[in-house]
Assembly symmetry: C2
Homo-oligomer: 313 residues x 2
Amino acid sequence: MLSGDPRVGEAYRQRVLQAVEQLDYRPNQLARNLRKQRSMTLGVVVPDIENPHFSEMVRAVEDLAFNAGYRVLVCNTDETADKQQAYLEALIGERVMGVVISPSEPASPQIGRLLDIGIPVVAFDREVADERADAVLADNVRGTRTATKLLIDTGHERIAYIGGRRDVETGAERLAGYELAMRAAGLELREVDGAFRLDAADAGVTEILAASVRPTALVVANNLMTVGALRALRRAGLRVPDEMAIIGIDDPSWAELIDPPLTAMAQPVGRMAGDAVALLLERVAGTRTEPRRIVHAFELRRRLSVCPPAPQP
Amino acid sequence: MLSGDPRVGEAYRQRVLQAVEQLDYRPNQLARNLRKQRSMTLGVVVPDIENPHFSEMVRAVEDLAFNAGYRVLVCNTDETADKQQAYLEALIGERVMGVVISPSEPASPQIGRLLDIGIPVVAFDREVADERADAVLADNVRGTRTATKLLIDTGHERIAYIGGRRDVETGAERLAGYELAMRAAGLELREVDGAFRLDAADAGVTEILAASVRPTALVVANNLMTVGALRALRRAGLRVPDEMAIIGIDDPSWAELIDPPLTAMAQPVGRMAGDAVALLLERVAGTRTEPRRIVHAFELRRRLSVCPPAPQP
DNA sequence: CTTGCTCGGGAAATCGATTTCCGAACCCGC
DNA sequence: GCGGGTTCGGAAATCGATTTCCCGAGCAAG
């Protein structure tokens, strides 16, 4: 009756509600969870919550979930398959009502298990291996191609790409976007792996700068690596954009504060998170059973870190 | 027996473990939670997870908690008392094993309830009203006084302070630190409320700049407001540091990338989070019953956003 | 007026692991 | 060889809300 049975007498209901009031009765959530075999919780699995891209996403998901009456269990995988597996296992154990995941490992068997037992999964940023999952993605190929093309159109020919892990969607697609643009223009590829990490990007850029023929522009595949790249450039004493143009994927809040303000490809993270939660809630409500994929476009934020290359000696 | 009863026959144990293996048996976490009246979860309550200060903290807590076998329920309060209350209520309902909270409202009655039912609470950054809670704090008064003193020692006399909410510990203490330093030097106070928010700080700085006599230096009480302040300065076309020196409390990763690199007071967030989790685990283990307060010192990161003021006309 | 049906409310079963309880077997020493 | 004390494994109670079941009352129709 306490769960809102409509066929209950009014007088009786009043009596009970009054008792509830007087005794300061609070239903035991744990007992409820056991009986219902679910907990009003959503799992959010991200590779790195310190990355502003993901903290913005977590923030948005959390907000929407809270308003819909859910709690959020945040899982940080450190880009490792192990932690991801452990966390997904835990989420299954907790019988969460849905999972938003930006997978470090797209093929964790737990993802299939989740879907098997009816827990909806929404892939965020990166797809998962299971067909049944929904997905909210950014058009990485086009975004990175646009970024690269901007450099080409500005007059650059030696353009290096600081990339992320190729074994995940985002890394592979962004690389593809870069390659598409470069090949279309008949330019030579120059790729360095920054593993989506600050330090690796720093090292990568340092390595690039050591080469006999330096590039005149960089495309950096995410915001952490952009910090690393900028650090390496600063250490090498290179001026941006005259000596090295740079365009970043992701547009964190500090992008317009640095010198020069960073030209960036922004993802509509807030809207993407909104879509992800909406997809989950549709599944929970049973409104939809067909998998859906939603792809968002990047948006170019033109600032001052890109200018034509210096004339060649 | 499955919970590791030591007084169990070896042969029997083997037989059971084999059965466990074969049937792919997974204990139902929800049933376990109900029976034990607890869930292997820690609650982390922060005002804004998008703020790098807190995302770093959440990240560190999450990591340590995971290694200790706990999950982390992240609660974002948006600096509102309402959301904080709702979340604390939920954490009580989930019977979490401990709570790390950076309170928006230090006196929520739920904090007392948590402690009443034996759930340890550690205050982070800002104290809570209940005596029984542990606390991990930064020495805000000294940190801000040091920051202000640096400006004074550099030769500034008109120093404005962009402050955060005075009704929370950090805001009040940082303000006090500024006032201490200014009064000690016999200088006039100039305070603006930025509510710890980017936009409010932007507006505050804009307001300050509109005054007939402008300050020559700013102390900004946290990293979000620093972004706002820098934005306002840029919009007004003021050069840092010659026309306006600036020192920020908090040292986010972008601080050394901006132009000029930001002079900042850094908090050892990682160590603070480590202490917080350690305090919780001590409580859970029952090793300690006396409340503890740990105070960490800020660390000055001298960069280029502070220089002597231009000579007066 | 009686049969049949609906509705309200109380009682009991359920979720599944943990914890307690108990009887049987076993060991030791006297 | 027997009483007292362990040890071990099975059985039952427990956690507390939800869900199902069921009976009695009330009402309508024949």
